[in-house]
Amino acid sequence: MTAISAHTTGPAPPDSRPRDDPAAVSALSIDGVSHSYGARRALIDVNFAVASASFTALLGLNGAGKSTLFSLITRLFGIQAGRIGIFGHDIGAAPSEALRLLGVVFQSRTLDLDLSVIQNLLYHAALHGIAKREARRRSDEVLTRIGLADRAGSKVRDLSGGQMRRLEIARALLHRPRLLLLDEATVGLDVKARADILGHVRQLVIEQGIGVLWATHLFDEIIPGDDLVVLHQGRVLAHGPATNIIADAGARDINSAFMRLTGAAVDPGSSAS
């Protein structure tokens, strides 16, 4: 797998299009979402949208509220204020319709280490009501695609970190979602594994038209053509094509644009953390 620098979309914000136009329905729409843990406010009036067949990076420091947002989108947490829609389905009012269109790769590993690769995939398929024969067929397909066909019977704990991440992505795609969320999917991986996984996900956007929301704190995972959401201390500071955000900030690259937006002293390396 190689990272793909070409980017297919840079659409106008979907919400700017007429609501009665079916194509105006965003893959993901976050409208006025706020969330608190007791007195601590984790998200404050967050608004943005992810279009179909687009790669949107959600950039923020550790503790910016990315994982809280992911927990709200996946309905692990209840929504306290605002609305989240997945292809128009309200996650609070119609969770089944919304969740079946959604694939998720969480920050922490969610594979069952004691089960084999194929058993993990079949379990996930069952949770989506996919019959065993079809599940097996799809599993073989995705394992071939990610180069793990020969490891189908291996225990997951015997895989490398990069292989586990690829398996998690494959699992998230098993029920053929149209929106894929990845929360810090490359954390803890070496440079090559990171590039492979990022390239694989970008390829999915192009080949399968999946909308992707990629949460990260690593600047070098974002390319100028990406849609970018900058989240800082629970607030969206900027949203739009990365090139526009860089230009608006009067910066020369994403790294310095992020520093100007947040006023944060960021390490001159490639990470926001």
Partner: protein, 282 residues
């Protein structure tokens, strides 16, 4: 990709899909059980120790008079067998909830909870899976107990099954309810001590309630209000082809109440919502 297919997205799941999901959850629980052989062995050793050592030692001390459902004098081992069957289910229910806490800490639980099927159904599936595992353990115990001259009427092996399913669901739902309130795995050991031992000892598992009443009227009332007592009595009567209607009603009502409580607690707008993400996540 066009966004228009939002209108074509099916709004519900077929019965086959529900069955596939349930089957998957039970299958995964069974696989985990098979992989954890020591769990199966310890689940059997625990009641067998009580049966072979404790009951043998107390046989001469604790005489059992003729009480329903027994029609004659019985050995103490025969008396405590239903209590030990319920104990297997009690431990299994708590162990299942322990695995839910573990799954939640390790992230596996998220796989289950982001399924598009209704959350109450997913939790019910977990409960059914845990109960199915407990049935395997109980019948394995009954086979071994048969060689120890604990031989209920042959029909009892069949009539006890519905009672075991209901009591397994009740104790599993209780464990699930407890697990919803536990934030960390380390906290679970304390809960085990505060739940398992009081429930087991303040029940009719080891001694008939009339004997408890002679010793301590207060403890007698505690035992009467303990749902585990009714699980034991339900199993005891069913093992002899009879029904203890009061115990059946209590166990049924408790199962329903615990299940509703667990579903409420795992509701995203209530149970899990108050917790901030663990570790460095936010």
């Amino acid at each position: 990709m066009s966004s228009t297919s939002v209108n074509r997205a099916p709004s519900g799941f077929s019965l086959t899909q529900y069955a596939t999901c349930l089957n998957g959850i039970v299958w995964r629980e069974a696989l985990r059980f098979v992989h954890q052989r020591e769990r199966f062995v310890s689940a059997l050793v625990r009641p067998l120790v009580w049966l072979f050592i404790f009951a043998a030692g107390f046989r001469q001390v604790l005489g059992i008079s003729i009480i329903p459902p027994y029609e004659t004098y019985i050995l103490y081992e025969v008396y405590i067998a239903p209590g030990l069957m319920a104990m297997i289910q009690l431990f299994n229910g708590m162990q299942s909830s322990l695995s839910m806490v573990y799954d939640r800490e390790m992230g596996n639980m998220r796989t289950l909870l982001v399924s598009p099927l209704p959350r109450w159904y997913l939790l019910f599936g977990k409960l059914v899976a845990g109960t199915a595992v407990s049935l395997l353990q109980v019948y394995a115990f009954l086979v071994i107990a048969w060689f120890w001259d604990i031989a209920p009427p042959p029909i009892g092996y069949f009539t006890v099954l519905p009672a075991l399913i209901l009591s397994g669901l009740m104790l599993g739902a209780l464990g699930m309810l407890i697990s919803s309130g536990i934030k960390q795995l380390e906290n679970f050991a304390g809960v085990m001590n505060f739940v398992i031992f009081p429930m087991f000892f303040a029940s009719s598992a080891l001694y008939p309630l009339w004997r408890v009443q002679e010793g301590s009227p207060l403890l007698y009332y505690v035992c009467q209000f303990n749902p585990f007592t009714h699980a034991v009595e339900l199993i005891r009567f069913a093992l002899y082809g009879q029904t203890n209607w009061i115990s059946l009603a209590v166990v049924f009502c408790c199962t329903t109440a615990f299940m509703i409580g667990a579903i409420y607690a795992y509701d995203p707008s209530r149970g899990l919502v108050r917790r901030a993400p663990a570790g460095g996540e936010a």
